[in-house]
């Protein structure tokens, strides 16, 4: 029999038997009013989750289930009775008795304006989700003036490595790539937000090329990018040549052959060639994340 030592606080590895989890408690439920309907949700539920569970589709851009909410895009705002400003549904927790309106005139105006402000300053041509929202809310970004009148974030594409490109003219600054590169997934910290105000941007230190940065090419930033600002070099090249055609593509789920973890790969093929690899967010172990091998280690297959 081994003697169990006092816990070493500096090095808190489990030394004894594995901890036993307490039996699951039924979560306390609370009642809120959503667009006039009484809804019962578990305590700790966000307004976004509450709305979704009630079948109310709430638009999101900077939110992703696998990342910490940063509530910066403000497209998910809803109106909470008694609150002066609108609140972000993605991070605001439901409170008992809260009366929430998800489709009031104020809410619709804010959502439309957020889309117009974004689309008037950012190239959203490879962001189908934003385009769909713009149709839904009747957004007309040209109200702010044609090119030359309204300032944009237009800039040259950054192509500094073999695997992926960074086209920050398409960046809406949703912070997702920074989160995926940081504590929410990869813990590499190769990129961060630099600058301020309209000049705020995603950058390596002193804007050094990726090969000089801490980047490990896991591509998890590409996996979370909602606008195509971060893109496989293969996809970027095909789009430029006019060859990219999603109607001709098929997606096949398989298991990564490289190591024992067994990550799920979704292989995108066009004309019997692999054009990119993603991983499903719903996969409970990897939550959409891969490493350089899984995400990029297939190009040799096309070279037969």
């Amino acid at each position: 029999m081994s003697v169990q030592k006092a816990p070493d606080l500096k090095n808190p590895l489990p030394r004894g038997p594995l901890p036993v989890f307490p039996p699951e408690r039924m979560a306390k439920t609370i009642e809120i009013t959503l667009d006039g309907r009484k809804v019962t949700v578990a305590e700790g539920t966000t307004l976004l989750e509450a709305a979704r569970s009630a079948g109310i589709d709430t638009p999101t851009l900077c939110f992703l289930e696998t990342l910490t909410p940063v509530n910066v895009c403000r497209i998910c705002v809803v109106e909470v009775e008694g609150s002066r400003a609108l609140v972000p549904a993605c991070s605001r927790k439901a409170e008992a008795g809260m009366a929430v309106r998800t489709d009031s005139e104020r809410v619709r105006l804010s959502r439309r304006l957020v889309l117009e402000l974004l689309a008037s300053s950012v190239d959203v041509s490879t962001a189908p989700q934003i385009q769909e929202y713009m149709r839904r809310y009747g957004a007309k970004p040209e109200r702010f003036g044609a090119a030359g009148h309204a300032e944009t974030v237009a800039q040259p594409v950054k192509i500094d490595n073999e695997l992926y490109v960074r086209d920050y003219a398409k960046c809406i600054l949703c912070y997702k790539c920074v989160e995926a590169c940081g504590v929410d997934a990869q813990n590499t910290f190769a990129i961060a937000v630099a600058g301020r105000g309209f000049g705020a941007r995603i950058s390596t230190e002193y804007n050094v090329p990726l090969p000089d940065s801490a980047c490990v090419y896991c591509g998890n930033c590409i996996g979370v990018c909602p606008t195509g600002a971060l893109m496989f070099r293969s996809e970027h090249g095909m789009r430029k040549a006019g060859d990219w055609d999603e109607t001709r593509q098929t997606r096949t789920d398989t298991i990564c052959p490289y190591c024992g973890v067994g990550c799920t790969l979704t292989v995108h093929t066009q004309d019997e060639k692999i054009v990119k690899v993603t991983s499903p967010l719903e996969q409970p172990i990897t939550r959409g994340n891969l490493c350089i091998k899984g995400r990029f280690g297939w190009e040799w297959i096309n070279q037969k």
């Binding site: 910066v72 105006l109 003036g145 300032e151 600058g195």
Partner: protein, 599 residues
């Protein structure tokens, strides 16, 4: 954390400057919270934040270099590009503009070329409000090197700025210019917050004691924390930083959280036209230390931070000296006045970011991060600095505390109105005969206040009064009888904010003022949320087109779009900056025919 660095290496001078800060601060706070102090040290030594110096600093503090760069690149007083070591920041904000700032900029351009260009190791640039409005036009001059200097000059002349750029040191300005009211005998006995400013030597702890200092601390220690808290609640003291939140409730809420708790004094006074906190800190620094010890005692905080804006070098000198003296005399540290009370104060220096006056952005800044506001809830009293319960109070708010302790909450609430209790400091600048900080009981009207300051200056004909700063609103000459209280101004569709009062005479082009305000918010938006990041840009673009008489479509259609941009900034921005970025513009457009008939 496994960090990756480029090959860039720090110079021996940069290393020494960084090491000195890290060695000086061996406290228990996370090392990352030293980042701003370290970046200041690099900037002061080398004149910019070089890749090598940043690598070295990030290695010592365990900060990924990309994040360190993001922080350095956020603050206006840090430069991530090599630049001239001597820099003159010339204020061109509303108050200074009304008193010759543009002329000064023209002179600077003649001497040193266009703003931002290195001319023989010297350069100048335009700056938002420097908090020296009573001595407009103001300049802030920094010279990097082994004997770095930082000086605020006002009223600034081109020749003095030139001398400061060459390293000459000027004596700090006199309190008489900043608080002209103390010279008026009739007011002398009635002043509370200003009573020692200009009267008592701010360098001397003995002079402070002789003038009644520390009496409130002794009484507070005798009363006990619960009784002090009860008095503050009864006083109905509301925050003086702009939001007017009840101070007592804030303390109570923080006290209910688990220790360790922190007290943060918000001294990042950056609302254009505001300079009252600077005058208090320069003129009565020991009073702030005393007030913070009492606040920490009552709210259950063992550690206090003063977040001071980087453009206030004299206030910094005074506060650091006052803290040193208080530690020496047993008012700070482990055993205050022989009681088992522990309290320490650290001064953190901001680096040129209006947004850091927002309380949660300020917390991030102390923690060594970009000054981006946090989402609320949770509120700082629940999860604030380093995630702990935190009380954040403005300088002027805190300076009311000793008076409440001495006279009792009920008596304090007897001054002012039912909902705005006590006296208030007003910052008068622009076209007023005697600019400065004035103290008056809440309820004084705008007209009475302007008379107290000698009436309208400039041409003598009043056009408009900007109340509350860039985030405030304009009042028309017909609204001079508005009582200056939280509720009175709300009734006039304005807000007291930080009690800025800038009268403008009829020679001022309000279009210029609005353009200045539009540009200010565009420059000072942190960039985090879409409504503010892009909305402030679109607001400025529309104002520019209207001011140039070249609207897109018609004036009416431009104004309609401007109104919608204003509403989404107010409704959907994360913090108070975006939520108020359109308020002055909207109030001016509703009260004055600024762009009418300009199609």
């Amino acid at each position: 954390m496994d960090l990756h660095f480029t090959n860039a290496a720090a110079t021996p001078e940069e290393k020494a400057a960084i090491d000195a800060v890290v060695e000086r601060n061996g406290g228990e706070a996370p090392r990352r919270s030293l980042l701003l102090a370290v970046l200041h040290a690099i900037q002061n030594r080398a004149g910019w934040i070089s890749p090598g110096a940043l690598n070295y600093a990030c290695g010592l503090l365990g900060v990924p270099p990309a994040e360190g760069f993001g922080v350095a690149d956020f603050y206006a007083l840090f430069s991530t590009r090599e630049q001239a070591p001597a820099v003159a920041h010339i204020c061109d904000d509303v108050a200074c503009r009304a008193r010759g700032a543009e002329k000064l900029c023209v002179e600077m351009e003649k001497e040193h070329g266009p703003a931002g260009t290195n001319c023989d190791g010297k350069m100048w640039r335009r700056s938002p409000c420097l908090g020296m409005c009573e001595r407009a036009p103001a300049a802030f001059v920094t010279v990097a090197g082994p004997q770095a200097t930082e000086q605020a000059l006002g009223a600034a002349h081109a020749a003095d700025i030139e001398a400061a750029l060459q390293g000459k040191r000027f004596p700090a300005g006199g309190a008489g210019a900043s608080a002209p009211q103390w010279g008026q005998k009739a007011e002398q006995g009635r002043l509370k917050l200003l009573r020692r400013v200009g009267q008592t030597n701010p360098d001397s702890i003995e002079a402070f004691r002789d003038a009644g200092g520390f009496a409130a601390l002794e009484r507070a220690l005798a009363l006990g924390p619960a009784a002090v808290l009860a008095e503050v609640i009864e006083s109905k003291l509301a925050g003086r930083g702009g939001a007017a939140f009840p101070t007592g409730l804030k303390w109570k809420s923080a006290r209910e959280g688990a220790a360790p708790r922190y007290l943060v004094c918000n001294a990042d006074e950056s609302e254009p036209g505001t300079f009252k906190d600077r005058v208090l800190m320069e003129g009565d620094p020991f009073a702030l230390v005393e007030a913070m010890i009492i606040a920490g005692f009552a709210a259950g905080c063992e550690r206090g931070y003063i977040y001071l804006r980087g453009e206030y070098p004299e206030a910094r000198r005074q506060l650091e000296r006052a803290i040193r003296e208080c530690s020496k005399h047993g008012f700070l540290g482990g055993n205050i006045l022989g009681k088992s009370l522990r309290f320490e104060i650290e001064v953190c220096i901001g680096a040129g970011a209006y947004i850091c006056g927002e309380e949660t952005a300020l917390l991030n800044s102390i923690e060594g991060r970009r000054g981006e506001p946090r989402n609320k809830p949770p509120f700082p009293t629940q999860a604030g600095l380093f995630g702990r319960p935190t009380v954040i109070n403005n300088v002027e708010t805190l300076l009311n505390i000793p008076h409440i302790v001495l006279e009792g909450g009920k008596a304090f609430a007897g001054t002012g109105t039912e909902r705005s209790t006590g006296t208030k400091l007003f910052c008068l600048s622009g076209h007023v005969a005697r600019p400065g900080v004035y103290e008056a009981p809440f309820g004084i009207t705008l007209r009475e206040l302007l008379e107290m300051a000698g009436g309208i200056g400039g041409t003598g004909k009043l056009q408009a009064v900007l109340v509350g700063g860039a985030a405030g609103a304009f009042l028309a000459p017909g609204e001079l009888d508005t009582p200056l209280t939280f509720e009175g101004l709300r009734g006039a569709g304005a807000a007291l904010g930080s009690a800025v009062v800038i009268p403008l005479d009829d020679s001022v082009d309000l279009r210029d003022v609005l353009l200045g305000i539009g540009g200010f918010f565009r420059d000072e938006s942190c960039g985090q949320c879409v409504p503010c990041r892009v909305g402030t840009v679109r607001q400025e673009e529309i104002l520019r087109r209207l001011a140039a008489g070249k609207p897109m479509g018609s004036v009416a259609s431009e104004l309609a779009v401007l109104k919608e941009v204003g509403q989404v900034m107010r409704d959907a921005s994360i913090c108070g900056l975006g939520q108020t970025a359109s308020s002055a513009v909207e109030s001016a457009l509703s009260k004055f025919a600024i762009f009418k008939g300009r199609t």
